[in-house]
């Protein structure tokens, strides 16, 4: 078995994690492969009715544990099976139905209902799309990972380890309150199409998180968090992950205690140094969504519906890439329409090269299909969206210190030594990603950090988190450089279209963004 690296190919400075898939006969049997009769009935009925059908079967199992201040709060188990059926009339009108019954009879009924919806919709002048009739079959395939399954994961070991991690975190300060959570999800998918495509795959993912609240002690209570993610229970049980989570938890505990009495930063535009998790936020919110082709008619990366491929959008040393990484929290090898998921260099050397394109909008946007469609569940309709998005720069400044151990002081010294910061220059170091939001139509984005350090002061005063907002293109044009190796494990969830799907990505340890009037830190007037 070939080992692979979740932290990125250049992540060789101590935080690297290698997963070796366990030694069993691959590929494993996926649960969705047992629905052959239902699939046959679905496709036969579609053929009888003269419509093209796409069926999306999901068989998902999950487990979550929570510990609060040393006590096991609860364990939850869940399972869900269902199918979504989207049909297209020859004219391109479409209807969608979903059900939690995956039987031959229910599938025949679903196709009938979807076809009726599609045909009745045509009377109201609904939009047509015939892209499904122009693609070729991707054949019958099974793309199965072989990570630890839920059946191979001991509850007792999970409970004991999570309790231990929680207890340890509570010891990192006086009166700390610590909530710990661990979740594993093991969805199996099967996408079938009228053109004979029949692909089964799995997208396992797992995480451990710590939320640490420091008591008020004269100020207001403050909360900071730490997490690690990966494909299975090893994120909790493997020593490498345990050590990484512990380092991050120590940092979060220290931060929460210091934030209690930290002042508010003065709002305005500054030179910014952001860590890789925030850089993932920048790539995701400020650029990734705008590159999704379903919104190209209104995206700032589009002109009259066509993606502005070939235009310069950032400095020539900046590249932004999105694609699946095996073992990553957001791994997905095949799209929700049965197309292979491509790794796409959206921006290459500062020039817009390609979009995150689904079957239905790629042609209109003038870019190739990249298999970017994802869905939260069988109940949902596919939308193009990111998996693992990362910003890379050419010739990043060498920075060997392990990311979790970098202090603001060392970062400041490195920036000064490499000409990325001048003594006394107004500049802020933003640490820790707390989520973001974007409006791709006008390019407004925001994201929030966990802490702000003033790099213009040698004593690096700490300030409260503040919103980082701006315009997509302004932020990209302002990237000055990067420091350190690539890290690709900044995990989160993306809520586009009301569907929550895992997302992740990263950048070099730190990215420097020049002062720009269109990129603002909120704060005091």
């Amino acid at each position: 078995m070939t080992p692979y690296i979740i932290g990125g190919p250049n992540d060789t400075v101590g935080t690297e994690v290698r997963f070796s898939e366990k030694e069993t006969n691959m590929p494993k049997k996926l649960r969705v492969e047992s629905y052959n009769e239902a699939v046959d009935a679905l496709l036969k009925k579609a053929d009888e009715l003269g419509v093209y059908a796409i069926g999306r079967i999901q068989d998902s199992r999950g487990r979550s544990l929570s510990v609060n201040n040393g006590r096991l709060e609860r364990i939850d188990t869940g399972s869900s099976v269902g199918i979504g059926v989207q049909v297209f009339t020859p004219e391109g009108h479409t209807g969608f139905v979903s059900s939690d019954q995956v039987t031959p009879e229910s599938c025949r009924n679903l196709v009938e209902t979807a076809a009726r919806l599609a045909r009745s919709a045509s009377a109201f002048g609904t939009e047509t799309n015939r892209a499904v009739f122009e693609i070729e079959s991707n054949g019958k395939q099974t793309i199965a990972t072989d990570f630890k399954t839920l059946d191979e994961t001991s509850y007792d070991e999970q409970v004991k380890t999570l309790l231990g991690a929680n207890e340890q975190a509570r010891g990192y300060g006086n009166g700390l309150s610590v909530r710990s959570g661990h979740g594993i999800s093991d969805p199996h998918w099967r996408i079938v199409r009228s053109d004979g495509t029949d692909i089964s795959f799995d997208t396992p993912h797992a995480s451990v998180g710590m939320s640490i609240t420091a008591p008020a002690s004269g100020g207001k209570p403050a909360t900071a968090s730490a997490s690690v993610s990966g494909p299975d229970s090893r994120v909790l049980l493997d020593e490498i992950f345990q050590e990484r989570l512990d380092l991050r938890t120590r940092k979060a505990a220290n931060l929460a205690q210091r934030l209690v009495n930290a002042p508010q930063i003065k709002g305005g535009s500054y030179k910014l140094v952001i860590d890789y998790a925030l850089a993932k936020g920048l790539a995701h919110e400020a650029f990734g969504h705008a590159s999704e082709t379903d919104g190209m008619e209104t995206s700032i990366l589009g002109k009259e519906g066509i993606m502005r491929v070939g235009e310069k959008m950032a400095a020539e040393f900046v590249t932004i890439t999105d694609g699946p990484v095996l073992g990553d929290y957001a791994y997905q090898p095949v799209s929700a329409n049965g197309m292979p998921r491509q790794t796409v260099e959206i921006l290459k050397d500062g020039v817009l090269r390609a979009g995150l394109a689904d079957l239905f909008s790629a042609g209109k946007a003038g870019v190739p299909i990249s298999g970017a469609e994802r869905i939260e569940s069988y109940r949902n309709l596919p939308l193009p969206r990111m998996t693992n998005i990362r910003i890379t720069v050419q010739d990043p400044v060498k920075f060997e210190t392990r990311f979790e151990l970098v202090t603001p002081e060392e970062l400041r010294e490195t920036l000064l030594a490499n000409g990325l910061l001048k003594e006394g220059e107004p500049a802020l170091y933003l640490a820790g990603y707390k989520g973001g939001q974007v409006n791709p139509k006008d390019g407004d984005f925001v994201f929030n950090c966990a802490a702000i350090y003033d790099l213009s002061q040698p004593d690096l005063p700490l300030y409260q988190p503040a919103i980082f907002s701006g315009k997509v293109l302004a932020a990209l044009h302002s990237i000055l450089g990067g420091l350190g190796p690539l890290h690709l494990d900044a995990m989160g969830h993306c809520g586009k279209g009301g569907q929550s799907v895992p997302s992740s990505g990263g950048a070099h340890s730190f990215v420097v963004v020049d002062r720009n009037e269109n990129v603002t830190i909120g704060g005091a007037s």
Binding site: S80, F96, V97, S98, L117, S177, A222, G435, Q437, N518
Partner: protein, 449 residues
Amino acid sequence: MSQTENQPIYADQLVALLEKAVQGAWADLPKLKGWRFDVSEGRSVSLSIVDNKLGSVYGPATARDSLSGGLYLIWDDEKRSNGSIDRLTVPEFEMRLREWRNSAYTDERAPDIRQPDPTYPVVEMYDPQLEPLVQGETELLFKILQAGEKELRGAGGVEFLDAGASASSSRRFLRNSKGLNVSYPSSMFNYSFYADSLYGNGYSKRRLAPEEELGRVLADVREVTAELKKTGSFQANPTGSRVVLDTGLAGSFVGQYIGGNLSGSGVANRQSAYSLDDFKENKQVIRQDISLVIDGTRPFETSASRVTSEGIPGGRGPLIERGKLITPALDLKYAGITGFPPTIGGGLYIEIDDGGQRQSFKDLVEQVDNGLLIYSVLGMHTQDSTSGRFSLSAPRCLVIRDGHLEGQIKATISGNFFDNINDTRTRFGWDPHEDNPAMEITCQVVVEA
């Protein structure tokens, strides 16, 4: 759809299987000592306009059937299990039972199964007029969206319209091993319109909307969107600017910073701005004319609730009364831990003691000499509710000058909502079509380029 009004087949089958487990039908497993489940079965239909396109691949006419819910078990050895229920739970019961046993855990503070209450409030939650629509007569959804398209894109000058309309009908089955047996239908009807990524409004209740409601919603979207397309200018006050939070946004602030700190688990585990002692002492935490109430009794509102999944009857009661903490929001477990009664189900509502002189939203805006009106912000989900601090981007704020709206600007706003809700300068204004008031607060504003 297999669900019909008087046909609780699935729930009965599940009860029979759980009772078999109580009797010890699976000899290698411990017996069940108690159980509870809450399952809903239903159908929904929907239709969307995405980027001006009606019924496209991203928002076609859609029908969804589902059966889902949750289950809680107490085993003979006092261990507990939490599991999900789906269509396969009954046919695969033995396998599921073994999975639940494998995941069983010890929690000495976990609650027992609750005895049924003598009565549960009958709150109206079902509109039979929606049934034909849910069963496939979807013409109304098309007509609503086409009316919006005509009004907003045709006459209203809207360039890009996103909109959605949906209806659903379901039946809930709540049962437990001590005899709780509550079953009732409920329905939902929604539509919304979002113009040029600037402003949106809609209707969301458990019954069909009155015909005139659509015209009111569309007029509001058209008028506010037009205002948001005018350019304005604003000079922020370094000591704090006056900012009016629209009704929906004010509700988000209250939910995030006040509601978010009332969770029983958060309070008991010191992960809230308020301590358990604060509740025991009825500490004054917000201004004394403000109360926060849980209310599940409002007919046909989305917040209507007859009973929680644990069997706590619906009703109405304060969490904060006249600015004083009354009780955290508690499930059965945290009710046992904190000593307060469990909390009823329902929505969170703000009540203001204004001596009968309720100020309108229109009057609130007209009394601002120099400030901003904000309908939406980016980044609320990234804020730390325990500290009360906020730092948010408002890409579209309307400038208010001498009570009149004068175009839009982009700004970030920051401050501390705990201070705002205690501030004597904070004022409220009511829109007759909304359940919660708009708020005028004073906070830091940075105008962006």
